[in-house]
Symmetry: C2
Subunit: 286 residues, 2 copies
């Protein structure tokens, strides 16, 4: 089903909920660089999602430089032809951290989908490079991505708009700006359409690290997990578009920094259970 | 603990999530009048919560008159002295339906708390009268009421503001404008502070009827139930004010018209399980 299902994925994958407050996000971005295990990592910034790539790149260039990046590469892909460009492929190959900015996730999949650059990103990720993204750059990471649907219209059949994402992580569907835009009902609708996938709702000043079977929350904000695997009823398949969806027994968890989740056990892991797997310990030993 | 815990409560209690669209709410208000079991019920409208009582009263007077109310009483209580007024007490005693408008729920509890009019409302409710309220008029119905806290700030200890409500219904805490203002995190925080209470989050075009042990959803919108009774962990008591709250294994249900919930079994009831208890059947036999 999923073309990348059997590829090994050794690099850390980080999804950030988007952040207006760059001071907060800097704490998260610092962790992202640290996860590369390099003292002066090469960071490649992909601003394809954004309508103002120059401004966005300059912002990240300043932050990453301040955080001791060895080099910050401007992977300025604006159209599908750019995504086939050997120069950009070479930049991805050199990057220790590939950072995908916010904007419109549909631009990301439309421009990068099936491209040489995306192929290079997957290869670098498999080789151990960090892939991280914020907002649209986070939403695109799951195999099926959410790209639209007003929160106050959702839980109406068809209200939440989904499309194929990059498939960098299995078993989850990612949503961002989650508490700030009240998107709980979006992931409840997503869960009703297919309870197999864990909804990962990331707040604006929060992030998750996908670490194999474990999801680790970090940053000052919240990560809300929406587990629909035990739902006992829903009318979703009986409805016409726009009709009100009912769904029963959705399990939710609010995680904060230091907490994690086991995807196979569908269980929250506290700081004690995480032990050596915690981000702090993990970083201390890289 | 709760002064009204042992009073019998025989009248229907209806909480409405607030509605901009009066056409939608009319469908709900029609059901409210029908629940009185009278052909031309006397409706008493309490606009204490509102800053524009004249406008609000005229709106409801027109709607209720169109819905064949026998009389619409303007219970214009603006300060605590009014709430002791025998004329207003007499109006409440005559009302088959007592309707509490939206506005600021703190005005309701501050002005009506401990008053002769509130005592009269409780007595009429116990005798069988319908009590219904929308927005602030719904939030005030639980023993502990939510009166503030921005949704995007909640799940921070102390962010959700609570105070003592009217205690017309046991075991729940009511929130309104729920999907429209993304208030899921508010009721998650409320549940973490005391998991005994079921969070009832009512959307703007939705309503619930509290019918003894059963909650019945009606209207075109959604009712979200937030059940924290099985939460397995939270850090809420370890935190200082403003720190991020974690909470694990919150159960949520999205109900639509025709669905209900058993408070004692903590279980969703579908149209089949509800059978004769459903609102349609209930109204057909009144």
């Amino acid at each position: 089903m999923n073309m990348v299902a059997n590829l090994p994925k050794h690099g850390p994958l980080v999804a950030i909920g988007g952040a207006e407050d760059k001071t907060q996000e800097t704490a998260i971005l610092k962790q992202v660089l640290t996860l590369s295990g390099r003292k002066a990592p090469v960071v490649g910034v992909i601003t394809t999602a954004s309508a103002i790539p120059q401004e966005v790149f300059e912002g990240y260039e300043a932050v990453f430089t301040a955080l001791d990046a060895g080099e910050v590469l401007d992977i300025r892909i604006r159209e599908r032809a750019d995504a086939a460009d050997e120069g950009f492929v070479a930049m991805v190959k050199r990057a220790d951290v590939i950072f995908i900015s916010g904007g419109d996730q549909m631009r990301l999949t439309n421009i990068l989908g099936g491209s040489a650059v995306l192929e290079a990103i997957r290869k670098r990720h498999a080789e151990g490079a960090v892939v991280a993204g914020t907002s649209a750059g986070a939403a695109c990471q799951s195999a099926t991505m959410v790209y639209g649907g007003a929160a106050d219209d959702s839980l109406r059949k068809g209200a939440v708009k989904m499309a194929a994402g990059f498939g960098l992580v299995e078993g989850v569907i990612i949503d961002t700006h989650f508490l700030e835009r009240g998107r709980f009902s979006r992931l409840m609708e997503v869960g009703a359409t297919n309870p197999e996938f864990l909804g990962v709702g990331i707040g604006e000043d929060a992030a998750v690290l996908f670490d194999g079977d474990t999801i680790l929350a970090f940053g000052p904000g919240h990560v809300i997990l929406v587990d629909s695997s035990n739902i006992t009823g829903s009318n979703v398949f009986e409805l016409d578009d726009g009709e009100a969806v009912t769904v029963h027994n959705v399990t939710m968890h609010a995680l904060v920094d230091g907490y994690g989740y086991s995807l196979s056990d569908r269980q929250v892991l506290g700081p004690k259970e995480l032990g050596a797997q915690s981000l702090e310990r993990r970083i201390a030993y890289t």
